[in-house]
């Protein structure tokens, strides 16, 4: 049964090829169904492989399947091969499972889009790349998938490419990812020179022989790569912008799968991390914790429903890195899986809200949607409780594991994680209350319902239904940044209509995945319950893979319970604060979002200013240097030759007598030289 491993990536690849050729002809919705079937088939194959693996025990659970030799070059040889072991099969299961649900969702979400089939072409290619990433049996095949998902992310973010903002976001994602890819590549080279091979089995076997400095260097470089792909500080800036892509993309790529690649990579390379210097895992943990806290503070002040979730994703990924740094690989994978469930749920739910509200994304225009979008709100609330860490939802168990290991590493890191947990509960509750509870702000024209939002969009206060007459007066008219987005006639994505909105629940293709994910978000905790050894299923399952690096916890049971209780209390505090500030108050009395947080501590704008300012000047200087100095030297040589020639030309006066004079003079010189040299005639 394990021989079917190759089928797992093959089916989405087949889907990609078929849809690329026939997609337009198949049209909507057949193209979508075909794509869903391909990924669904891949899920079935993963399940079959999983079942087959259950039948084996211990070390036999690693299955290697080589397709063909890819790059043979002297002492270096790399195959396209797959390694099916507990870790990769776990990843395959939840990747293909969630991808199938999201493909189904997208059939409904992308209904009516001009490029419907092209969307599924990219989605299938993405799933193929992601599966190559996790199934690859060596660093190079993983890198193939790694860059592949980056490219697909680029295509999908800039899917609605007629908008400059989307195109820019896609480019930003790709280029930022590339910075991480640099780290990955150098890590690959270093691994090869130190071990003679980049296959995972060889790395696991040979890691013990690595010098500490080498292992440290490899780990740090991998961290750079992972930080790029998994949106950690300082390379996270692409993820919030990536929300420009359609919501299924945000759910699949930027919540459940692509961004988890970094965590996967570090988990895969845990034997190397284990032999590095002691301070290296701490660095990883600090990066994770800092990112988690940073992103949580920014999420608190976001008004776009997807941006909240984007920063939330960055924050939760920070938790996973914290886990990796604390030696809790199992906890990291556990959280990866539960996060995939509830984050995909939250994103798809937000997509359902956006869809139902006529493409409005700003929470300041939402409110009191609970009764009108029953399934969406119910499932969203499940997701909220999961991410807030309320027991017995899955998020509680996984987050708690991480905090436990963090405590064992350093109470300071635990504290950071704890504060982040409070903030997480707070901002997610804020989101739920603003969107589904409270007063409705969509049943009136925009200028009436949400004046601050109207001002941002350049719609003058008191403008009538659907009309944007007159320019904003006063300072706003003078400000060059306020442009009435409604004037162009072509609404940017995420901007809802001026008039009242009719919210409606989405079709079954969109609500079914929500329900399935909600169930998983509730029950997902069963994977790794910390009570007895029997309930720690995930730990036993992953043990052969993470054994070298997994840290053995030395915390008393009493402390465990105490920490868990504190975490629950913290979550409840966060929720309570949100209740007080957002549920009980009308919009006008709710606290204003502080600009520092809303703008992400000006980190992104700072980077952009640097790139556009000194960065651009530096590049321009180099271009000037090339034009003027280097090329100038070449042209200078030509000028010199011409000049010298021109100067010498003046001796050619055409005056015969002058020539005669030269001849005579020359003759005298020659004779004189001969005479003085004593030449005998």
């Amino acid at each position: 049964m394990l021989e079917l491993t190759w089928l797992i990536p093959a089916l989405p690849l087949a889907g990609f090829v078929v849809l690329m050729v026939l997609g337009r002809r198949l049209g909507e919705p057949l193209a979508g169904w075909l794509a869903t079937a391909a990924v669904g088939g891949s899920f079935v194959a993963s399940a079959v492989v999983f079942v087959g693996m259950l039948g084996r025990h211990g070390e036999e659970r690693a299955f290697s399947q080589v397709l063909f030799e890819w790059v043979p070059a002297g002492g270096f040889s790399v195959d396209v091969g797959f390694l099916a072991d507990p870790l990769s099969v776990t990843m395959c299961l939840f990747i293909t499972g969630i991808a199938t649900l999201i493909h189904l969702y997208a059939i409904g979400y992308m209904h009516g889009d001009r490029d419907f089939s092209k969307f599924f072409v990219y989605l299938n290619l993405f799933v193929f790349s992601m599966l190559m990433l996790v199934l690859g049996d060596n660093l190079l095949v993983t890198f193939l998938g790694w860059e592949g998902v980056g490219a697909c992310s680029y295509f999908l973010i800039s899917f609605w490419h007629t908008s400059d903002a989307n195109a820019s976001a896609g480019k930003k994602a790709f280029v930022t990812n590339r910075v991480g890819d640099w780290g990955y590549m150098v890590a690959m080279f270093l691994t090869f020179t130190a071990l003679g091979s980049i296959r995972y089995v060889d790395i696991q076997a040979g890691a013990g022989g690595l010098a500490t400095t080498t292992a440290t260097a490899i780990t740090l470089l991998l961290l750079v790569g992972a930080a790029g792909k998994s949106a950690q500080l300082p390379l996270f800036v692409w993820l919030p912008d990536a929300m420009a892509g359609p919501t299924p993309v945000s759910a699949l790529i930027h919540a459940a799968t692509m961004v988890t690649s970094g965590v996967y990579l570090l988990t895969r390379m845990n034997p190397v991390i284990a032999v590095g210097s002691d301070w290296v895992p701490t660095v990883i943990a600090v990066v994770g914790a800092a990112t988690a806290l940073f992103a949580a503070t920014v999420a608190v002040a976001q008004t776009d429903i997807k941006k909240v979730l984007a920063y939330s994703t960055i924050s939760q990924l920070g938790y996973m890195f914290l886990a990796v740094g604390s030696g809790a690989y199992v906890a990291a994978i556990f959280h990866m899986v539960t996060h995939a469930f509830f984050k995909a749920l939250l994103f798809l739910g937000s997509g359902s809200v956006i869809h139902g509200l006529g493409d409005e994304q700003d929470m300041r225009r939402m409110g009191a949607l609970r009764k009108l979008l029953p399934v969406t709100s119910a499932t969203f609330i499940v997701g909220w409780l999961a991410i807030a860490g309320v027991p017995p939802f899955s998020g509680f168990w996984s987050k708690d594991e991480i905090l436990l290991y963090a405590w064992d590493l350093s109470p300071a890191l635990w504290a950071v994680g704890f504060v982040t947990a409070i903030l997480t509960a707070f901002y997610m509750s804020r989101q739920v209350f603003l969107t589904f509870f409270g007063e409705a702000r969509w049943d009136r024209p925009l200028a009436e319902a949400a004046p601050d939002l109207a001002r941002e969009r350049g719609v003058p206060a008191g403008s009538a239904d659907g009309e944007a007459e007159g320019r904003p007066d006063g300072d706003e008219a003078a400000s060059p940044t306020v442009v009435n987005v409604y004037e162009s006639g072509h609404l940017p994505h995420g901007v809802g209509p001026l008039g009242p909105i009719q919210p409606h629940e989405s079709s079954w293709t969109m609500t079914l995945p929500l329900v399935v994910l909600a169930v998983l978000a509730v029950a997902g905790g069963a994977l790794q319950l910390p009570f007895t050894s029997g309930t720690k299923r995930l730990e036993h399952w992953l043990e052969p893979v993470v054994a070298p690096g997994e840290h053995h916890l030395a915390v008393a049971t009493g402390t465990k319970w105490a920490l868990a209780a504190v975490a629950v209390v913290g979550g409840l505090v966060g929720i309570a604060a949100a209740v007080a500030l957002y549920l009980r108050r009308r919009r006008a009395e709710q606290p204003a979002e502080p600009a520092l947080l809303a703008r992400g501590w000006y980190y992104d704008s700072g980077l952009a200013a640097f790139a556009g300012g000194p960065g651009r000047i530096a590049f321009d200087t180099l271009a000037w240097f090339d034009r003027t100095v280097v090329d100038g030297a070449v042209n200078g040589v030509a000028w010199l030759v011409r000049g010298t020639g021109g100067g010498l030309r003046r001796t050619q006066s055409g005056f015969v007598r002058a020539y005669a004079g030269f001849v005579a003079f020359g003759a005298v010189v020659v004779v004189a030289v001969m005479v003085f040299r004593g030449v005998v005639l």
Binding site: R649, Q652, S653, G654, F655, R657, A660, G661, A664
Partner: protein, 103 residues
């Protein structure tokens, strides 16, 4: 019996003739006169060669004279042809005017 004239006199005469020819070449502008000066220089060289041939008792010098005469003759033919065609165009032409070789 007349006393033998030492070769120094011949050489001096040759040098003086050569100098006169060279000076005249550089100073005079009339093309024909410049040609005559060139001839003068060539003949001065002939005289010098013959003197040395006699002095060093080497026939080679006399042979060179023949070469020089031949070259002078050929040069005169071509040169006079060019000058005549230039003067036919503009009778008052001087060497300075014929700057066709100007770079």
């Amino acid at each position: 019996m007349l006393a033998a004239v030492s070769s120094g006199w011949y050489l001096s005469l040759g040098a003086v003739l050569f100098a006169m020819g060279a000076a005249g070449l550089m100073v005079r502008r009339n093309p024909l006169v410049m040609f005559m000066c060139i001839e003068l220089m060539l003949n001065a060289v002939n005289l010098t060669f013959v003197t040395f041939a006699r002095r060093l008792d080497d026939v080679g010098g006399q042979v060179v004279v023949f070469f020089v005469l031949v070259v002078a003759a050929a040069e005169v033919v071509v040169g006079l042809g060019i000058i005549v065609s230039i003067l036919r165009r503009s009778p008052a032409a001087t060497a300075d005017d014929a700057s066709y070789l100007r770079g």
